[in-house]
Amino acid sequence: MVDATLLTQMVIGALLGLSVYLPLRCGQLSLATPGFYAIGGTLAALLSTRVNALGGSEPSYPISSVLLEMALTGALCGVLASGIGAVVLRLRGVYLAIATIALVEILRVTTLNQEALGGAVGIFGIPQPFDDPAGYALFGAGLLAVICWLCDRLERNRLGRAMAAIRDDELAAACQGIDTERSKLVAFVLSAVVAGLTGVISAHFFNSWNARLGNFDASITTLAFVVFGGSRTWAGPVLGGLVLTALPELLRPIGDLRLIVFGLVILVGPLLLPQGLVNPSLIGWLTQRRP
């Protein structure tokens, strides 16, 4: 039932969930994740198919080249997000959400109309660093583990506390000496980098890349991961991403009914657990049992 291909997809879902979660922990509803995911995917696709020096013509694509793509993508997404964030983070609440949706759409339409970026057809024949889907699952899980660890550290230190304070009351946070603009920007940049790195893995895993992979639907799906899993701590979006990615596949035996069940889960989850699966009372219960 759960094979390496599905596992890889689940890990990708968890990573995208974390990307949506990071700004949300600062109280910023940004839906830009698929935009940066698409930048990562497109960049990886272009580099690995058009730059021979990276080893695209070899039978097995070197992992070092994948890591190089990730480094470049991380840098590009980081720089872009600092510039874009400095502007769009002046907006609050639903206005920020709308501006970031616009960003995703601009990137999608640009990619669609630029032959050099793949155009409407997309980019095919992206070389494979792993012969087996298990390789992708392991590689992705490794990245997920590193990013979870980073999020855990972040949540326990000064910046993480500042981010939670901004979410609760931005004005009071500023009066504690917190540079709220800067903290929000850091969260936005981290979110973009995580999304970009996930795009690189996805491009190789999918073997092809096109503009439709980073669209408005993806914004809503990734947001659902966080709403369903909870946005109090990093475990929420990870769990949400894993479960909601796996569910449609696991329900396949029940045929068309699966879409109805999936819809019901998304609908009923937030109704029963408004703060997500990993919610404050669960966290309280878990931490109290630990001495």
Partner: protein
């Protein structure tokens, strides 16, 4: 006389057609407990908002140790050593009491980012020190036993005390208290007066306080200013203010 710690010169703010404050001149000296009195809507909280950088002034300026701090963001002003509480309580409701105080220590909690990320022994030691200090502050405000409790679940009086603890966490030189006694019973108000004096002595503070409870203010403050309709109508010691005709008229109504 030495430079005042905080000074406002001809400070004013206009919201559309409403002149909320006009021509406010105040000098607050180091070590002083300075009171702001005035009826509802006189502009006391607005004055706090101007001083702490939340609302930009329309005219005049605010001076900190003789230098202008007009136009600085709230976070920059807080980092100068100026902390405040809020009349309508603005705690971080999803955090527990200790974390609320730790957020107040943002200014002191700075560490090299790599050390903070990796949780080096240095970072762990610093973190422990900060937690210990947070616990001390909570204990000082008599809410030490609530450290693990969520701020949202506290009683009204405890929330007021937590706001003061959070403000003290910043190690401020100047503490702005906006109606700290609101919602407290008479016994708690008496304790509060002693507490504020003790805090001033212990932390070498200068305190600017807004409060409606006139007897508390007259007994506590070294000097007071009285505001009415956005203007300063009186300034002086408790006795001077008590006998000021303009103050009596503002509070009791005048005969025309």
């Amino acid at each position: 006389m030495s430079t005042p710690l905080l000074e406002t010169r001809n400070l004013g703010v206009r919201f559309g057609g409403l002149q909320a404050l006009e021509g406010i001149d105040l000098q607050v000296h180091r070590g002083e407990i300075f009171g702001l009195l005035g009826p509802n809507g006189a502009g006391k909280t607005t004055l706090f908002n101007l001083i702490s950088g939340i609302t930009p002034a329309s005219s005049g300026e605010v001076l900190w140790r003789g230098g202008s701090i007009g136009g600085l963001d709230a976070n920059r002003i807080a980092r100068l050593g100026l902390a405040r509480t809020f009349q309508n309580l603005r705690l971080f409701s999803s955090l527990n009491c200790r974390d609320n105080v730790l957020v107040g220590m943002h200014r002191q909690a700075r560490l090299p980012w790599a050390a903070a990320l990796l949780g080096t022994p240095l970072a762990q030691r610093r973190q422990r020190e900060l937690k210990d200090r947070a616990q001390e502050l909570l204990a000082l405000l008599a809410i030490g036993h609530l450290a693990e409790q969520n701020a949202a679940g506290l009683s009204y009086g405890d929330r007021r005390r937590l706001e003061i603890a959070r403000a003290l966490a910043n190690s401020p030189e100047l503490l702005l208290l906006d109606e700290p006694a609101a919602g407290m019973n008479p016994g708690e108000k008496d304790q509060l007066r002693d507490l504020i004096r003790r805090l001033r002595d212990r932390f070498d503070l200068t305190i600017l306080i807004i409060e409606h409870h006139v007897p508390l203010m007259l007994g506590l403050c070294d000097r007071l200013a009285v505001l009415n309709f956005g203007r300063r109508i009186a300034l002086g010691s408790a006795d001077e203010v008590r006998q000021d005709p303009a103050v009596i008229e503002a509070y009791l109504g005048g005969s025309r």
